[in-house]
Amino acid sequence: MTTVDTNPGTDTRKAGRFVYISAVVLLCAWVIVPLYFLLINTLSSPDTVNSFPKAFVPEFDLGSLSFFASFAGMLTALKNSVLVAGMTMIMSIVVGAPAGYALSRFDFRGKELFRLLILLTRAFPLPLLALPLAVMFIRTGLDDTVFGLALVHTTLAIPFAVLITFSLFSGIPLELEEAAWTLGCTRLTAFTKVVLPLILPGITASAIFAFVISWNEVFAAAVLTIENRTLTAFLLQNLDTSPLHLKFAGGFILVVPALIFIFAVRKYLFAMWGIANR
């Protein structure tokens, strides 16, 4: 605003700007460089992975990945992971979204108690519950099945699904639904014709979120599956025995979908958490 004191000001401002930009770059490097190292290892031949010293550029050899693909049980584990995550995604939305809608649209007796139940689950180390469930599943025949694990993962994902869909539904003004009712809609058609189209991108984002929760879960997967290991459980079980290149290729396969998913939901990440805070 003033022109008099710009000279001493610009220097400190320039310095501040330099510090600011280098800090941003540094923090980006802090996130990316370890991922890059994993990439180098994945795209190198098994021999290179186990050799020393390491080159800091990948040699684009698919040896480690093909070793991973041919390792006994690995592809089944990958398939199981996809299956469990897919089921978790569908179940958590189908079960969670109606509750999110109820929380955003109705005042009912017991609403606070219900909210408390949802919030309580977030304060618990949920994977621990896999221990007694293992016993329960043996009795019901769900033990060591993809579906049984998907049920547990759905329990992990449901609090998020409810809170996220709650925030999404709250973002749709009730007036829009009321307008649809006065224009000839039933509750159901107003939902399908007005609310659903508006909410669909957000629902997709929270479904993807549920997928990632399940995809990444290690403890319950390791406890509940024996033959039908998911990728995480399989890798964990073989950590002591498997060669380095197998670990790195496996880790890489674990990371890739996560990168894509976070990219797909990035627009919703903050909006979802903003309200899921309450």
């Binding site: 996130v31 618990f124 180390p125 221990l131 670990k247 674990l254 903003g274």
Partner: protein, 281 residues
Amino acid sequence: MNARLLPYILILPVTLFLCLFFLYPFLLVAKQAFNNGSGFTLENFQEVVGYWKFPISLKNTLLLAAAVVPVQLALALLMATMVNKMQKGRDLILYVWTIPLGISDLAAGIIWLAIFEQSGFLNSMMSGLGMIDRPMNFLSYQHPGIVFLAIALAEIWRATAIMLVILVAGIGLIPKEYYEAAEVFGASPWKRFWRITLPLLRPSLQTALVLRVILAFEIFAVVAALGGTLFPVLMGETYAYQFDLLNSGAAAAMALIILAISIGFTLIILRALRVPKGAQI
């Protein structure tokens, strides 16, 4: 459909689900922990607590949480405020910074293994710079400090993003006018951060800390990938009781101990950061 019943019909599936897969198993854990087949007992707890590894794994878990969570909080706050005043490239930077959010603890452990293992990148770098003659085995019992550091770094790397997201969302909820008003009244950027951002951010700080602290006590796969048996933690011991020792009563007792610690810390955080009614945004 009856409008009065509708909300209950809508929450029924979740309620059933949580009763069946959350409350019921929770009761089962409690029963398993306190029951030896003939009645109430504290044997399982005595056994677990009396085991020589218990004090170590408790100490390790707490130390790790104490080292990791404050760093993450500071880092997340720094990143959130930096993003907040960013004009260009905000979305890209945020995407990069939130990438670890999607990465599992196991994958994070493996990623940092690539750096710290004997033929890994840290050794390569150090030998490239002539600091060492031959690769060192960092992740061994001779270097407990480095094992701890590797695990802590992996955790900080992986789980700062979740706090960042919560804090960025929280800062987004603070109306810009407050900052403008504070500026008009002569508050420096530093003062504005301490006097406006932090107090108004308390609800988000609460959520972020609770979530992080609970997850910190559940730490398991990162440790398994990097430290193996060198660095026992509570969750790893629980897993060992269940699988290696096939003692589900002891595993249940461990689970309850972790639960109790989590709840205790949750209450402390909620109490320390509580926002008086009427002082919310």
